[in-house]
């Protein structure tokens, strides 16, 4: 079963997304912070990471950088709110090797397609 790591500091988002992908036969692990995500990445391999940019503690961009240092082939999709000041962070995420990003509020089937495309191919 493909494995997806969901990193978000909002419990509702984490739990909803986990539930959503578990129903689609995906093995989901969740982390509530960048720190927790890095611990998980050190221990086990995930096929894809869904990573929120805006988090307390180390933010999504920093987390992305560390994940890539640990595993340069890691596939990461960034999730972000639609705020102009975050436009700049997209480019940064691209440079750091994120494969895609998606804006909140998002179309659920778009998220579904984006994630399943990476996991089922």
């Amino acid at each position: 079963m493909p494995r997806l790591l969901i990193v978000d500091d909002e419990e509702d988002v984490r739990e909803f997304a986990a539930n959503f992908f578990r129903r689609r036969k995906i093995d989901v692990i969740t982390a509530s912070s960048g720190e927790e995500a890095l611990d998980i990445v050190k221990q086990q391999k995930s096929d894809l990471v869904l990573l929120d940019i805006r988090m307390s503690g180390i933010d999504g961009i920093e987390t992305l950088k560390c994940i890539k240092e640990l595993d340069k082939n890691a596939k990461v999709i960034m999730i972000t709110g639609r705020r102009p000041e975050e436009e700049a962070s997209f480019n940064k995420c691209r440079e750091l090797g994120a494969i895609d990003y998606i804006h909140k509020p998002l179309e659920l089937d778009e998220l579904e397609k984006m994630v399943l495309k990476e996991l089922l191919n």
Binding site: D12, E15, F16, A18, P105, E107, L108
Partner: protein, 387 residues
């Protein structure tokens, strides 16, 4: 236990009258649905007009099932939105609500290939949201929002009574949202009108300043000072002045010299003291201003400030020789501010006084030319370095 839906609806309707903020109202409704009908989750998508998209704004229910507010949206091309916007709901379902179970039965019937295709896709959207019921909220023909409901515990079905209850709620919500929007639009329009009015007044005031070369910027300074004095008086007063008074003073001080439009420029700009005849002409400006503004009924109270800003507290002023408390407060305030500004700016026939000298002079005229309360407020402002 059966729920008395009629009573719940009445309660909801009452809250809608009390709560004007649509977002609060919608939250209340989602909470009520989850508690009373015991649905595992309920979400409400609201139309964002600007982006033409429907955003999940309110969500209630079990963690893991409820979709966090602000997380999801449906664009105009989303099949579920298209389904309702094309009015297939009314064609395929009597009451307009999509009940997932019933919709599935429709798929094997002959409803036309296009409708079937769209219904299928719409149902897939409901699956994604784990919704077993989807209820549209319309105002006239506009789809304002969608109410998405999860399932009831232990696989139980919704009764028709419950569905009717949701539909009634959804239409009430649409009405409430619409009302709130109209209310906001009206407020905006009112603000725009007020701002237009003030700007036109400022333009009129600029017309006077343009004619009177020596008093450049005078109107703006008198207006600012008058408002400061009024603030001070209001702070010192037992009862604060209301916004209306400030508005009135604002307009009156902007227009206090409008009558100078009718005074020949040769007099306004004369280098040196005026002779008796010229003085008489100059002294007509409050009455001229009053005549100019008279047709504007809405300015009735502000006109008092224009007409009487050259009256003196001891009764020796013009045009009517009013004294003491007969002089409207607006006029008394403008009078002091006007004199203070005249003293502290250069004129062709004399150079200006320092602020300290001007304050001293005004203080000496307290109870003679000026209202003592106004003088005190002006002195306080000076001592506090606010002027």
């Amino acid at each position: 236990m059966a729920i008395d839906y009629k009573r719940e609806l009445e309660t909801a309707a009452k809250s809608m009258i009390l709560v004007h903020e649509p977002s609060t109202l919608i939250k209340m409704i989602a909470r009520m649905i989850v508690h009373k009908v015991k649905v595992d989750h309920a979400g409400i998508l609201l139309h964002d007009k600007e982006r033409d998209t429907y955003v999940l704004t309110v969500s209630r229910g079990t963690t893991g099932l409820k979709i966090p507010a602000g997380f999801a949206r449906m664009d105009a091309d989303n099949p579920l939105i298209r389904f309702f916007r094309q009015h297939l709901d009314k064609k395929l379902f009597d009451d307009g609500a999509i009940i997932y179970e019933n919709a599935r039965k429709l798929l094997i019937r002959n409803i036309g290939p296009d409708a079937k295709e769209l219904l299928k896709k719409a149902m897939y959207q409901m699956e994604i949201f784990k919704a077993s019921v989807c209820i549209p909220s319309y105002f006239r023909d506009d789809l304002l929002g969608l109410l998405l409901l999860g399932s009831k515990g232990r696989g139980r079905k919704f009764s028709q009574g419950e569905i009717d209850f949701f539909i009634a709620l959804a239409s009430d919500v649409a009405m409430a949202i619409r009302n709130a929007q109209l209310f906001r639009d009206l407020e905006l329009e009112l603000q725009e009108k007020q701002s237009l009015f003030i700007h036109i007044t400022i333009a009129l005031a600029a017309a006077i300043d343009a004619k009177d070369h020596y008093t450049h910027g005078h109107t703006a300074r008198v207006t600012a000072l008058s408002l400061e004095i009024a603030k001070k008086l209001s702070d010192n007063n037992k009862k604060r002045f209301d916004d209306k008074f400030f508005e009135l003073l604002h307009i009156a001080s902007l227009l206090h010299d409008i009558g100078k439009i009718g005074v020949p420029e040769s007099i306004l700009n004369k280098e040196g003291p005026l002779n008796e005849e010229e003085k008489k002409k100059m002294q007509e400006h409050p009455v001229l201003g009053t005549a100019i503004l008279q047709p504007i009924k809405e300015l009735k109270d502000a006109i008092l400030g224009v007409k009487y800003h050259h009256e003196r507290y001891d009764g020796s002023g013009y045009p009517e020789g009013l004294e003491g408390k007969q002089i409207p407060l607006v006029a008394a305030i403008i009078s002091a501010a006007d004199s203070f500004d005249a003293m502290t700016t250069d004129r062709p026939y004399r150079s200006r006084l320092s602020k300290e000298e001007a304050i001293k002079e005004i203080q000496m005229e307290s109870g003679k030319q000026f209202d003592p309360h106004v003088v005190n407020a002006l002195i306080e402002l000076y001592r506090e370095n606010k002027i």
